[in-house]
Symmetry: C3
């Protein structure tokens, strides 16, 4: 499968590539009908194991604009009619002559990562459970970039349900990666979760600080706000330590709907949900802020904002087409970017010795266990933390082995630091380590 | 949204445009594969909020024949997956880059009218509840025109369930508009409804008269027939007043299935339903009549008529493709008609002062109230009657105001005649008028 | 409908045509993107009255690769939305301008045969109930032909559920027709059914013989194997009569999943189902055998075989695209074969005198009785046996008439041999024969 590029996670693209895609999308957007030669004769397969009509239509429109064809399987019947076939098999069939690129939507986290391991054509993740939806994130970033001309250093307010919105989490990571600042103005009770903050800190050096958002007026009056800024040398001028103070100017306000389908108490959380209207947008720091929303919205943005020139949420959706055109054409080799993709460092490591350590019940590595070796991604070396390479959930383990020495150590042992990432193997307990044929390390005492 | 033409109602097209479309369709039909350059690079979006496979396939075939692409959302899942999104929002997204024309099927009356208000690309109504389905009507007219060379003055029998068939009602209006005569031969108990006759009278001057259809033999033996002729100066030769007599020659016989899904007593109405067969078609006046049916049929046309040269119902369906090709290409600006579209007079007027007066529970103006101002269309000036601009149901109101004078009057007051249509505002009662800030007119006494 | 070629059964193609299609597919497969001019402007309609996503995608991909367009109706809603429309009517509409070729999947046996009688465009059978799926069979043969260079004389093991697999039965007929040998290695209890063996004998002269497959080792250890060889002059070297012995070399091993949905005891039959793995493939006679499977698989082929070079099941599926491209292009007149199709002898005969003799409850001739004359195909002249021309089930009858003499005879009467096939008419009993106006033959005594 060498040489085939996939888009499973936004991390699969370098910053230079992303900016190259933005430039390409901007060109394509000038006349959406002018590039119908780029992918003529090629076929995109929409494999949607759960419905997401908007995303599907956006991808299919993009492929048709490029002159390609589309085949679609977008119903649950697909699952039953496949008589219990594994995703790995489905992918191998569809990648084998049926299509030149696969756009995959799947309810299991990590499904696209697994698919990419079995596909001879590019796989694009169009949403894998609660995990990632990279083209949505790229579309959001592209909108910022189009509207503001750059992303680094921008101040972006995230508002609404920050706890359960996959879109918000992915967008926050991406903003941090690009060096933008995030101002969290959550619906009370729906604050950004700790594991997101932890990843922001570990991966991008982001430290949350209290933000004083009184100048945001009605928008923020009910919230404890938080300011997240990547630890890179750029302006922190908006704040006066030790208390964050005075959010003076906001570049973008990103609003999300309440993800009631994931709320423990269901629709009751809708009561008192923040509603953006003319009043909320009247605050001076929001004077030039573009208002974004991933759509669909319910009542969290009033219809009276639709005609406000700052409201770009419909433009935002429309721009999903050219950015997806750029992505498709790039992965299909039909659109050379001006910026070459940098060789990405290996981020994923396979461990094949023991059973799957992932405890996420909806991870694809559990439902398709026989087809995939467990895969992990290092979240942190000190202390050692590893995430499932499919769904990104953190592994639970007590012991760590080295496949070269066949010794194992307690996870906090200093010896662990010496093991190369691709030699690491994790064990839940002593019994598992022994059963796998590993021995305790010579010096340290193991007592579990 | 200026400059974008929609096809929500057949009334959106002038007679000259319709005839121009017929000429274009006739040309396109000569070789369906020869016009695959007309819409290359363009995309049609099929948004079907209820299933109508035949209509959808016809449109999609037409777009593909024109060289365009098609994206399709045709399942109920679309609704649930959109998480309660309003139609207005859906349309704005799909019109924004996803597609160059939207073909909309929706269970709510007026949905296409609303969609057209929010779409930057042409919207084609592919059926809005029980309301309109203009391309079906155009297809029916086109068939008459192709078979007979003209429409004005033709005598067309409508047979079967005339009460519940939307297709029949729309066809009757269109025939009247084109100056054709209608002979109603209903299934007993399923006569043409009064509101259809009323509109035929008010809009086209059609007066129903008793028809003597004994010469139609078996076809009409059980029916009280009715003859509808537009009050234009053309031949009334078929009738001898005061009793209509002697339908001598019929140009077309249009049969419909029983709309049992709308019948109060369900499928029982099927018993004794008229069945066309060789016997019924043996009547001399039907010798040259073409037999039409919108399909699907059940038993109302015997299979033994399929090979009769007068049976054109399968041709009729097939001609849906070229006529839809002409419509798509015209609205997309890819097919200039030889006859320029006349500027249509404004038929719809907005009232924004008070709540929605529409009482039709399935009207889109009620389910999407927050997105649309109530819209009305004058049905009659004297007496003043107004229909909902979305679903065409008649408004119920007692008082009429003028937005210039801010006075209101009883609906039958002679003062009402002086108010310009676009200044009219309707009130259900005194309380509503007062609450809206209107005062009683100086002279007339108001006592409600 | 003259001149239109359909693919309802693989028997609709001559051997020369099939080999011509294989050559064409091989050419097309060299660059799947290089033939996007062949069917430009043409449209394929996927009419799937039951889900079969894989088959549908394969056909749609093939049509798009040829540069054509696709319209799709692939949901059960299609049935309900058509308001009880007959298949004959649906086909006439879709064939009339909507599309240039129809790909039909239907749960009733014989549906494609009926469709072909009403279609003005080619109909391709994509599966009709438990009956036929000719492009699947062609794909399987094509794989053999590609891998081995020829088909005649090959030794092909069929393994797994041979009783309920339509795929297996069709493949066995086709192998016999091409002069290949079949080695049945069934899952115990799931042996090849008698009616398949009977047809193999009657149509291709295949006599089953006991095979000694001990050299196949684990694969065959639990089975009573059977060797089926067409009675043509070719090598029988693998066997020593009277006991089959020593299967020395196998060219292909075709594995099937358990068709649990058709098993009387459901999923319990899964227990102990044969599982192909490295061990089973280690037998010397399988050293060069390609491993085939129609997919989807469940556990009957271990994942550890996926990387074995003999495993071609994913290639096998991928080759479905070029072979379907060749079929579509050929039937659409866009791809002249180097070998001209021979005029096929008439295999089907219509009897119109009496009611339908087919006793198969899921045969289309029963559900659409009013649209189709009963059709039969002679299975055998001596004794006289006739199968339904739609579903291939055997007719039950006691008397045989001649439409010329208007006499009838007992079915075993020597007089019956003198009747020309197209003059044959079958009666269940005396009453039916008399009611149809037939008289007993002069000489023979009839006593029923």
């Amino acid at each position: 499968m060498s040489g085939v590029r996939h888009l499973v996670s936004i991390d699969d693209l370098s910053l230079a590539e992303i900016l190259g895609l933005f430039e390409a999308a901007k060109e394509l957007a000038k006349d959406l009908r002018a590039s119908s030669h780029l992918c003529r004769g090629m076929i995109s397969a929409s494999l949607f194991f759960e419905p997401s009509t908007r995303t599907r239509l956006s991808f299919e429109s993009a492929m048709l604009r490029l002159g390609g064809g589309v085949i679609t399987a977008a119903d649950k019947l697909m699952l039953s009619s496949s008589k219990g076939e594994s995703l790995a098999d489905t992918i191998r069939v569809v990648a084998g002559g049926y299509s030149d690129v696969i756009v995959l939507r799947h309810p299991s986290e990590g499904a696209a990562r697994l698919a990419s391991a079995y596909s001879t054509v590019p796989v694009i993740n169009a949403g894998d459970g609660c995990h990632e939806h990279p083209t949505q994130t790229l579309c959001d970033l592209y909108n910022l970039w189009i509207e503001r001309g750059h992303i680094e250093g921008l101040d972006v307010v995230l508002s609404g349900d920050l706890r359960y919105s996959r879109t918000i989490h992915s967008f926050a990571y991406a903003l941090a990666r690009f060096g933008a600042n995030v101002i969290c103005v959550p619906q009370p009770g729906f604050e950004m979760p700790d594991y997101v903050l932890q990843r922001l800190r570990e991966e991008f050096g982001v430290e949350p600080r209290r933000a004083d958002v009184t100048r945001l007026g009605d928008l923020a009056s009910r919230s404890d706000a938080m300011y997240l800024t990547p630890q890179k040398p750029h302006q922190l001028s908006l704040f006066i330590d030790p208390k964050g103070k005075d959010v003076e100017r906001v570049d973008a306000l990103y609003m999300t709907r309440p993800q009631t389908e994931r709320h423990p108490d269901g629709a009751r959380s809708l009561e008192n949900y923040v509603q953006l209207g003319k009043l909320q947008l009247a605050a001076e720091p929001l004077r030039d802020a573009v208002v974004m929303h991933p759509l669909p919205r319910r009542d969290e943005i009033s219809a009276d904002l639709d005609s406000d020139p700052r409201s770009i949420y419909f433009k935002q959706a429309a721009r999903g087409v050219p950015i997806r055109m750029a992505i498709l054409a790039y992965l299909l080799g039909a659109l050379p970017l001006q910026v070459e993709g940098e060789a990405a460092e290996p981020r994923y490591h396979a461990v094949q010795l023991v059973g799957n350590l992932c405890t996420n019940p909806t991870c694809i590595s559990r439902s398709e266990a026989r087809h995939v070796p467990p895969l992990f991604k290092l979240a942190s070396r000190h202390p050692l933390r590893a995430n499932c390479g499919y769904c990104s959930h953190e592994f639970a383990f007590a012991l760590v082995g080295c496949t070269t020495t066949r010794h194992f150590h307690e996870k906090d042992s200093p010896e662990v630091r010496k093991i190369r990432p691709d030699h690491l193997v994790f064990f839940q307990d002593l019994a598992q380590a022994s059963a796998t044929g590993f021995a305790p390390a010579v010096r340290p005492s193991v007592s579990i």
